[in-house]
Structure formats: structure tokens, C-alpha cells
């Protein structure tokens, strides 16, 4: 058991999140996948902070959480406003703009 385990786990979580963005249609779930990606970044940061013996990683993880919170508020508001009109939270339904 080394720190590499944490890092690889984070990489896998990040990938799963990224793939989730590509395969899920519900905008809110897509957004949750992005949250998963951010979380895996946090795990990476915390692990590197421990490895390097500096606290900067933890502080950055903290910032990531704050930014994520702001992003969530804006994102969910946008998704809600589009839902109120279209009665659908599917990202595939938003495709009037193309080519």
C-alpha cells in the first residue's frame, strides 16, 4: 500500500466521471459526473499534499470545494430554467443549435 494507490484510484474516478458525462443524458446527472471529477481532483491534491509535506494541496482542495459550490448553484439554476420551458432535463433535447 503506497500513496500511488490513492492517486490511481483518483485517476479512475476522474475517468469514470468523464465517461459519465459522455453517456448520461440527464443534465443533472451529467453535472453530478462533473462533481465526481472534481472530487477525484481533491483526492489527488490531498494525497500530493501529504507526499510533499506541504499544506498547499489541502488549501487548494478547499478552494475547489468553494468553487464547486458556486458552480453548482449557477449550474442548477441554468438547468432549472431550461427545464421549466422544455419540461425535460435531457441534454439531448437541447440541440436546436447545430451545424
Amino acid at each position: 500500500m503506497t500513496l500511488t494507490h490513492y492517486l490511481v484510484l483518483a485517476a479512475i474516478l476522474f475517468t469514470i466521471g468523464a465517461v459519465g458525462v459522455l453517456v448520461r443524458r440527464n443534465a443533472i446527472v451529467v453535472f453530478m459526473c462533473i462533481e465526481l471529477m472534481l472530487n477525484s481532483v481533491n483526492l489527488t491534491l490531498v494525497t500530493f499534499a501529504r507526499a510533499g509535506g506541504t499544506l498547499d494541496g489541502q488549501v487548494m482542495a478547499f478552494f475547489v470545494m468553494v468553487v464547486a459550490a458556486a458552480e453548482v448553484v449557477v449550474g442548477l439554476a441554468i438547468i432549472m430554467s431550461i427545464y421549466r420551458t422544455r419540461r425535460s432535463a435531457s441534454v439531448d433535447d437541447a440541440n436546436l443549435l447545430k451545424y
Partner: protein, 271 residues
């Protein structure tokens, strides 16, 4: 740099929670129901919170559990409920090749990044955080010190972000009334008793399968009840229970009501 040895206890925690976190991630992507996805994600987040605590970041661990999982994810759930819980994705992929390509790219990305990280950090020395925290300075103090010195500017600028978020939510969600259009309780109740119908308006009908405010109530014959239309929102079409048709079902209760003709769903109010 004196290497910190990773103890057995931590290894046990990792091997229990690691798979759990992974399962949570996979479950989020794979479950069709959005609420289940959210719960799976909460599972992963809790596991990560424990990892933070284990990795000498107790403050972050707490924040992860209290703020991230407790507040942010609940916000997600809240919105999911608003949108309507019945929004499970269909399993059919409509974009050709999307899934295959996504999985292949995912494997490629994980291969590149994961393998790269694994190779690069194979002999990563673990300095540990004893030098900067523990002893006199606790984790929170150490973080605070950094936050208000090295990261002061970022800290201040984050406020702009939070203001933006608040303003944004207000803009998109808050419907302002024109001044003077607000009626008092007294005026409202007087107005109601002047109508033919002083009792409460109908809720969603028994045949409706949605609980959104946009779904009107249904009258027994299947027409939407106009009284139940929400103000300001165009009524939504409502899925109905399958209605009996054909000779074989003539004996059903519907037949007794004499409404065998398929009733128009729109009730004459098709937008």
C-alpha cells in the same frame, strides 16, 4: 525528508473504502434513476471524506462530509425532486457510436493518465505533514495561516464567485412582482368567496402519473380539470392509466360510467 510509513490500518481502510468509492462512481453512471445516481455519488463522497481524514486532512474531511455531501448533494437532490423524480434515462443510446467511443476513450485516458501517474509516483517519498501541523499547530490553524497569507488573494476573489452565484440564482429563479400587484390575505379571501367556488382547488387527479405542479388534475372522464391549472405555467400533458378498450373489457367499472370513448386529453386547451 524522513519517509512516513503507511500503516496497516490505513491499508485496511483503503481496501475497504476504495472499492466502495469505485462502486459508488460506477453506480452513479450506471443507474437509470437520477435519484439513485445522486445516492451513489454521496456514497463515493463519504468514502473520500474518510480518505481525507486518514491522510492527515481532518478539516477537509469534515468539510467534505458536512458541506459537500451534506449541502451540495442535497441541493442536487432538491433540484431532482423539483424536476420530477420520474426522469429515468432510457437505456437506448441515441447517438451512434457514442457509448463505444466514450468507453474506448475512457480506457485510453485512464490508461495514459493512470499508468503515467503510477509510473511517476512509484517511489514517491512520503514526507508527511508532521512538520507543518501537529504539535502546537493544528490542521485548521495551519490551513488558516496559509489561507490568509499565501492564498489571500484567491480567498478574496472567491467572494466574487459567491456573489455571482447568488445573483445568478436570483436572476434565474426569482420572479419579481410588479409593485402594487401584491394582494393581501384579506383581499384574496374576499375575492374567493365572491366566486361560485369558495372551496379549495383540486389537486392532481387520481389518474395522473406525475406530481409536478404543471400536471393538471384529471376529471373522472380523463379530461384535465381546468381549475387545477397552475398559474403562469402552461399545463403539461399527462400520461394516463391505460383505458380499457374493446368488447372483452366491457364489464369493467369504466363501462359502468359510460365513458368508453377515449376522452380528448387536452380538454380543448391544446396550446
Amino acid at each position: 525528508m524522513n519517509d512516513v510509513v503507511i500503516g496497516t490500518g490505513e491499508a485496511v481502510v483503503f481496501w475497504i473504502l476504495g472499492p466502495l468509492a469505485l462502486a459508488g462512481a460506477l453506480g452513479m453512471v450506471l443507474s437509470r434513476n437520477a435519484v439513485h445516481s445522486a445516492l451513489w455519488l454521496i456514497n463515493t463522497m463519504l468514502a473520500l471524506g474518510v480518505f481525507y481524514v486518514v491522510q492527515e486532512a481532518p478539516f477537509l474531511g469534515a468539510v467534505q462530509i458536512i458541506v459537500y455531501t451534506g449541502a451540495i448533494m442535497i441541493l442536487f437532490l432538491f433540484v431532482l425532486m423539483l424536476v420530477g423524480r420520474d426522469t429515468s434515462d432510457s437505456v437506448v443510446e441515441t447517438l451512434r457510436g457514442q457509448r463505444v467511443a466514450a468507453i474506448l476513450l475512457g480506457i485510453g485516458f485512464a490508461g495514459l493518465v493512470g499508468a503515467g501517474i503510477a509510473r511517476a509516483t512509484r517511489d514517491l517519498p512520503v514526507a508527511g505533514l508532521d512538520a507543518v501541523q501537529g504539535g502546537d499547530t493544528s490542521n485548521i490553524e495551519a490551513i488558516a495561516q496559509l489561507l490568509f497569507t499565501r492564498y489571500l488573494l484567491a480567498f478574496e476573489v472567491t467572494s466574487a464567485l459567491l456573489i455571482t452565484a447568488a445573483v445568478g440564482a436570483m436572476v434565474l429563479a426569482h420572479i419579481e412582482r410588479e409593485p402594487g400587484t401584491r394582494r393581501t390575505q384579506k383581499e384574496l379571501s374576499r375575492a374567493r368567496f365572491l366566486t361560485d367556488r369558495p372551496q379549495t382547488l383540486p389537486g392532481p387527479g387520481v389518474h395522473a402519473r406525475a406530481n409536478s405542479v404543471a400536471a393538471p388534475a384529471l376529471l373522472p372522464d380523463g379530461r384535465p380539470a381546468e381549475d387545477s391549472f397552475a398559474t403562469g405555467i402552461d399545463p403539461q400533458e399527462v400520461d394516463q392509466m391505460p383505458r380499457p378498450t374493446g368488447r372483452a373489457q366491457l364489464g369493467s367499472p369504466d363501462a359502468a360510467l359510460g365513458t368508453l370513448d377515449p376522452a380528448p386529453l387536452d380538454g380543448g386547451r391544446q396550446p
